[in-house]
C-alpha cells in the first residue's frame, strides 16, 4: 500500500493530536491482546499482558504528544512563511504589471517619507539628545534681559559685569563666558583661510567638564595677560591643519598673523552651540582694567553651572539681586538690564526647536494625505481586479487570503518607498550640511543613524498599513458572486466603497487645507522675519574690500577722487541697482567712538559710546537698509559743507529720545573736535541675529571725514551678483591699477550662516505645502476620473435622453466641489482649532492673517475646480450609443 498523496489536513488542535495518539496506542494494545487471545489466553488476562508488555504507556503518550505538537507548530510556521513568500512574489508581479501605478505610488511614498525622515534626523540632533557636557542639566546660559521693556530679547554681558556677577553670585559653582569671532589662518602652503573661533574664559572647559581627545584643555592660567598664545582645536580642524597626526600636537599655527601653539584637540562634535574650529583663551584683564569704558560693551555670552540642587528660579533671583546693586552703582551702563539664567539647551537652540516641531508636524500631515491618496489608488486597483478575486475566491482562497494579498502590495510599496526615502533623507541632510555646517544649531551633527532608520521603518510600516486598510476593508464587504456575474467594471463597487472613497477624499482636502493655512502663515512670517530681523537684504549684493595705502592716499581729496570714480563707474554699469562703500560690512565689526551731544550736559566720566562706521555713496540702498527719518547723504555733502552723519534706530532711542535730526554732536576724546550734524536715521542692522545686540551706530559721511581710507564696496545687482565681479575689478583698475581689490564675495557669504538655515526652513515648509496641495489635487482628480469612467453608461443614457453636455459637466463638477466644500469646512475648522500651535512661531503676522485665510481656500477651490473639469469634460465626450453597448 503506497499511501495517498500528501494532502495537508487543516491544522490539528492539541485535543485532536492527543486523540489520535490515544487511538494509535489503543489499536496496538487491541492487536496484541487479540493475538494473545488467539494463543489461548483469557480476554482480560490478554489485555493486561498486552499492557504490561507495552511498557510505560503514560510517558509514551506524553512523549508522542510533545513530538507531534512541536512538529505541528513547525508545519504551521512553514506554511505561513510559504504563503507570505507567495504573496510577496505575487505582489511583485502584479506591481510590475502596472508600472504607472507602482511608480507613482513609490515616488509619493519616497518623497513624503524622505521629508519626514530628514526632518526627524534634524529633530533628533537638535531636540532629542542630551548636551555633550558633564551633567548638562546643571548648565544654564547667562544673558542679560531688559528691565522695564527697554529692549527685546537678550543681550550679552560686558566684561566688568561678568566679573561682578561671577564674584558676587551664590547659586552657581562657577560662571564662564565666551564670544565668537572669525579669524584667519595661514597654512604652510596656500592662501589665507577663514576659521571660526570661540574665545573662552579660562574656566570654561573645567566648567563644562569637557575632556579633550588629545593634549589638554584650556586652563585659567592660559588666560593670563602674560600667558603665551595657545589654543585648542576641533577634531575636524585637527584633520585639516595637522593632518590628524597626534605627534604634531604642540606645533604652532599662524592665526591672525600670530604664532599660536596648539595644546589640545577636542572630541569630535564638541561645540558651544556653533561650529568652531579653534578655541582661544580669553584674556579679559585689559577690559577689566578700564571698566568705565568697557562696562558698556556687551559681548560676552555666559555659561554657568548651577550648584547641585539649585533651581533656575533661585539662580534668577540671585542674579536679579546682584543686578539691582549694579544698576544702582552704574546707572548708565546697567540700569536697563539684569542678568538672567536660562537652560542651556533653550539658549543654544532658540526658536529653531519649535520651528522644527512644527516642521515635523507638517511632514506628518503630508504623510497622512499621501496615505489617503495611496489608499484611494489601491482601492481602485482592488475594484478593477474584482473579477480576478471572485474567481480566486471561488477556487477556495479564503477572504483573509485575498485581503492579505492586497495588503502585501501596499506594504511592498511602502517598504520600497521607505528604503528609497532613507537614501533621499541621507542625501538631503548631507547637501544641507555642505551648504552650511551651522544651518542646524546645537552640538550634535545631523545624521541618519539607527534611531532615524527605525523611525523611517515605523512610518513606512504605518503607511503600508494605512494605505492597505481601505482596499482590505472594501474587499471584505464585496459581494464576490455579484462581481462574477456582472460584466467588466460595472458600477464602482457598492455603497460602502463609495462612502470610503468620499471619506478619503474629503479627509485629504481637509488635511491639505489645514496644512496650507498653517504653512501660509509660516511662510508670511518667515518672509517678514527674513527682512526685518536682519535689517537689510543680503541677497544680490556683491562686496569687495579695497586697500588704499601709502603716500598716494594721504589726502582726503585723493581718497575721494578714487572712490568717486569707482563708485560712479559702477553706478553706471548695467545691472547695478545701487552702489556704496563703508568702513566695515555687517559682521565685520566696527570701531567705537565716544561722543558729546551739543545742547545737553555730558557726563565726562561716562560718555555715551557709539559704533563708528563711515559710509559713502548709496551704501544703505545697496544693503537694503531702510531710511526711517531725515535724509541720506547727497552730492551736496562734500568737504565744503558741514560734516553730516546718519545714526541707526538704536542710537536714536538710546541717546536722542526726543529726536535726532538736526542735533549736533562731537566725537573724539576731546570736546573740541568738529561738530557733526545728524541728518537721518536708518534702520538697525542685526547681522548676527539675536545673540548680538545692535550697537548704537554712527555713520559719518566718509567723503567728509575719511577716517580709514580702505573701504569695502557693496554693489546691489539685479541678477547674479558674482557676474558683476569683472565690472567691479575694471572700475577699480580704471581708477588706479595699483589698488588691491580682494575678498570679493557676495554679502550673503560674508554675513553667512543664519540665513542659510532660515532660507532652507522656508524652502522646506513651502515645499511641504506645495506637496500637500499637489497630493490632494491628484487625489480628487483620481477619484473623480475613476467615478466618471464608472458612470459612463449612466452619462450615455442621460445624453441619449436629451441632457445637454453642460448639465453632465455640471453633475460632475457639483459632486467634486461638494466634496471640496466639505473638506474645506473641516480643514478650516481644524485650522482654527490649531491656530495657537502656530502662533508661537509667527513673527509680524497675526494668526488671523486675512491674506492667508482667504487666499488658501481660494487657491484650493480654484485647483480642485480645475481637477474636476478634466473628468467632467471627458464625461461629456461619451458617445451615448457606445457607452450603452459597451461591456
Amino acid at each position: 500500500m503506497k499511501g495517498p498523496l500528501s494532502f495537508r489536513f487543516p491544522w490539528r488542535s492539541r485535543g485532536r493530536i492527543a486523540a489520535e495518539i490515544d487511538a494509535e496506542l489503543a489499536f496496538h494494545l487491541a492487536m496484541r491482546a487479540a493475538e494473545l487471545e488467539r494463543q489461548g489466553i483469557a480476554h482480560d488476562a490478554a489485555i493486561a499482558q498486552a499492557r504490561a508488555e507495552f511498557g510505560d504507556i503514560e510517558s509514551t503518550r506524553t512523549y508522542c504528544r510533545t513530538q507531534d505538537e512541536a512538529g505541528e507548530r513547525m508545519m504551521r510556521w512553514n506554511d505561513r512563511l510559504e504563503s507570505v513568500w507567495y504573496d510577496f512574489r505575487h505582489a511583485v508581479r502584479s506591481l510590475c504589471r502596472t508600472p504607472a501605478f507602482s511608480g507613482t505610488a513609490i515616488l509619493t511614498v519616497t518623497l513624503v517619507l524622505g521629508a519626514n525622515t530628514a526632518v526627524f534626523s534634524a529633530a533628533r540632533a537638535v531636540l532629542l539628545r542630551p548636551l555633550p557636557y558633564g551633567h548638562p542639566d546643571e548648565l544654564v546660559a547667562v544673558q542679560c534681559k531688559s528691565v522695564a521693556g527697554y529692549f527685546v530679547g537678550t543681550e550679552a554681558l560686558s566684561p566688568p559685569d561678568y566679573q561682578d556677577y561671577r564674584a558676587q553670585q551664590h547659586a552657581f559653582t562657577d560662571i564662564a563666558a565666551y564670544s565668537n569671532a572669525t579669524e584667519t589662518w595661514l597654512p604652510g602652503q596656500g592662501d589665507t583661510e577663514r576659521v571660526r573661533a570661540a574665545l573662552v574664559t579660562g574656566n570654561m572647559f573645567n566648567l563644562l567638564e569637557a575632556t579633550p581627545r588629545a593634549g589638554r584643555i584650556l586652563l585659567p592660567s592660559d588666560a593670563g595677560p602674560d600667558a603665551p598664545d595657545v589654543a585648542v582645536i576641533s577634531s575636524r580642524f585637527f584633520e585639516r591643519a595637522l593632518g590628524g597626526d597626534a605627534a604634531r600636537l604642540g606645533e604652532t599655527l599662524t592665526i591672525n598673523g600670530r604664532a599660536t601653539r596648539i595644546v589640545g584637540v577636542m572630541r569630535p562634535g564638541f561645540t558651544l552651540g556653533f561650529q568652531a574650529d579653534i578655541w582661544f583663551p580669553l584674556d579679559l584683564s585689559g577690559d577689566l582694567a578700564d571698566p568705565g569704558r568697557t562696562r558698556k560693551q556687551h559681548w560676552l555670552n555666559g555659561i554657568g553651572r548651577l550648584r547641585p540642587g539649585t533651581t533656575v528660579e533661585t539662580a534668577d533671583r540671585d542674579l536679579a539681586l546682584i543686578g539691582a546693586h549694579l544698576a544702582a552703582a552704574y546707572p548708565d551702563a546697567d540700569s536697563t538690564r539684569v542678568a538672567t539664567p536660562m537652560p542651556l539647551r533653550t539658549w543654544m537652540i532658540g526658536s529653531f526647536g519649535s520651528g522644527l516641531t512644527l516642521l515635523q508636524g507638517a511632514a506628518l500631515l503630508v504623510l497622512l494625505i499621501a496615505c489617503a491618496n495611496l489608499a484611494n489608488l489601491t482601492l481602485s486597483r482592488a475594484l478593477d481586479r474584482r473579477r480576478d478575486m471572485a474567481v480566486r475566491a471561488a477556487l477556495g482562497s479564503g477572504r483573509g487570503r485575498l485581503i492579505r494579498q492586497l495588503f502585501t502590495e501596499s506594504m511592498l510599496i511602502a517598504l520600497v518607498g521607505g528604503a528609497l526615502a532613507i537614501a533621499l533623507a541621507y542625501a538631503a541632510t548631507h547637501w544641507l550640511l555642505r551648504l552650511d555646517a551651522n544651518a542646524v544649531p546645537g552640538p550634535y551633527p545631523v545624521a541618519v543613524d539607527g534611531i532615524v532608520l527605525a523611525f523611517c521603518a515605523v512610518l513606512a510600516s504605518g503607511t503600508g498599513v494605512l494605505s492597505g486598510l481601505a482596499p482590505a476593508f472594501a474587499v471584505s464587504r464585496l459581494d464576490l458572486q455579484q462581481a462574477l456575474r456582472e460584466g467588466g467594471r460595472g458600477s464602482s463597487g457598492g455603497r460602502v466603497v463609495e462612502r470610503a472613497r468620499r471619506a478619503l477624499v474629503i479627509g485629504q482636502i481637509a488635511l491639505a487645507v489645514t496644512l496650507l493655512i498653517g504653512t501660509g502663515l509660516l511662510v508670511r512670517s518667515f518672509r517678514a522675519l527674513d527682512g526685518v530681523k536682519l535689517g537689510f537684504t543680503p541677497d544680490h549684493v556683491l562686496t569687495a574690500a579695497t586697500n588704499l595705502t601709502g603716500a598716494r592716499y594721504d589726502t582726503l581729496a585723493r581718497v575721494n577722487l578714487f572712490y568717486d570714480q569707482v563708485l560712479g563707474e559702477l553706478a553706471r554699469t548695467p545691472g547695478v541697482v545701487a552702489v556704496g562703500a563703508a568702513d566695515e560690512l555687517p559682521t565685520q565689526g566696527s570701531t567705537g567712538a565716544s561722543m558729546r551731544i551739543e545742547g545737553q550736559v555730558n557726563d565726562e566720566a561716562n560718555l555715551p559710546n557709539m559704533a563708528y562706521i563711515a559710509v559713502r555713496g548709496d551704501y544703505f540702498r545697496a544693503l537694503g537698509v531702510p531710511l526711517l527719518a531725515g535724509r541720506l547723504f547727497t552730492a551736496g555733502d562734500d568737504s565744503t559743507a558741514p560734516d553730516v552723519a546718519v545714526i541707526n534706530e538704536t542710537a536714536l532711542h538710546r541717546f536722542f529720545p526726543s529726536g535726532a535730526i538736526g542735533r549736533r554732536i562731537h566725537i573724539g576724546p576731546t570736546a573740541t573736535g568738529p561738530a557733526i550734524t545728524i541728518v537721518g536715521v536708518v534702520g538697525d542692522v542685526h547681522a548676527e541675529g539675536a545673540s548680538y545686540p545692535v550697537l548704537p551706530t554712527l555713520f559719518p559721511n566718509h567723503r567728509q571725514v575719511a577716517g580709514g581710507a580702505s573701504l569695502s564696496i557693496a554693489v546691489r545687482t539685479r541678477g547674479d551678483p558674482i557676474a558683476l565681479t569683472p565690472a567691479l575689478r575694471r572700475a577699480a583698475r580704471g581708477a588706479d591699477p595699483t589698488v588691491a581689490v580682494h575678498d570679493v564675495a557676495t554679502l550673503e557669504a560674508v554675513v553667512g550662516e543664519s540665513l542659510a538655515s532660515r532660507r532652507f526652513a522656508l524652502a522646506l515648509v513651502t515645499g511641504f505645502a506645495g506637496l500637500a496641495l499637489m497630493l490632494a489635487t491628484i487625489g480628487v482628480y483620481g477619484v473623480l476620473a475613476y467615478l466618471v469612467a464608472g458612470r459612463r453608461r449612466e452619462f450615455g443614457v442621460r445624453l441619449a435622453l436629451g441632457a445637454t453636455q453642460g448639465s453632465v459637466v455640471g453633475l460632475v463638477l457639483r459632486q467634486g466641489l461638494m466634496w471640496a466644500g466639505i473638506g474645506l469646512a473641516l480643514g478650516l475648522a481644524a485650522a482654527v482649532a490649531g491656530r495657537t500651535l502656530v502662533a508661537a512661531s509667527l513673527y509680524g503676522v497675526t494668526p488671523g492673517d486675512p491674506i492667508t485665510w482667504i487666499g488658501v481656500p481660494a487657491i484650493l477651490l480654484a485647483v480642485v475646480t480645475a481637477a474636476c473639469l478634466i473628468p467632467a469634460l471627458r464625461a461629456t465626450r461619451v458617445d451615448p450609443v457606445a457607452a450603452m453597448r459597451a461591456d
Binding site: L25, F27, H28, M31, G55
Partner: protein, 110 residues
Amino acid sequence: MSRTPPGMLQGTVDLLVLRALAWNAMHGYEISRWLEARSDGVLMVDGAALYPALHRLERRAWVASWWGISENNRRAKFYRLTRTGTAHLRASTTAWHDYAHAVAQVLAPR
C-alpha cells in the same frame, strides 16, 4: 518490564524502524511483528520504545503517516518512508555497520 533489549540506544530503534518501513508501509503493530520475525525473535521492541521512535521520525520528516484501514477493518495509523528518510536510512546503515565492525574488532580475543 520492557522487552526491548536493555541498553539499546534510541538511534538503533530508529534505524530498525526505518528499515522495516523500507520493506513496506506498515502500521505500528506490524512493524513490531516484522522486526520480531526478521530477527528470529531476538529483537522484541515494545510499544514504549516503538511509538516514540515513530513520532520522532515523523517530526524529522523521515517518515510520513496517514490513517487507513487495517487488515481486520479497523482504523490504524500507517507509516511510510519519505525520500529523505530513505537517504538517512542508507547513511545510518553504513554507519551502523562500520560501528559494529569496529566494536567487534575491539572485542575480538587477542
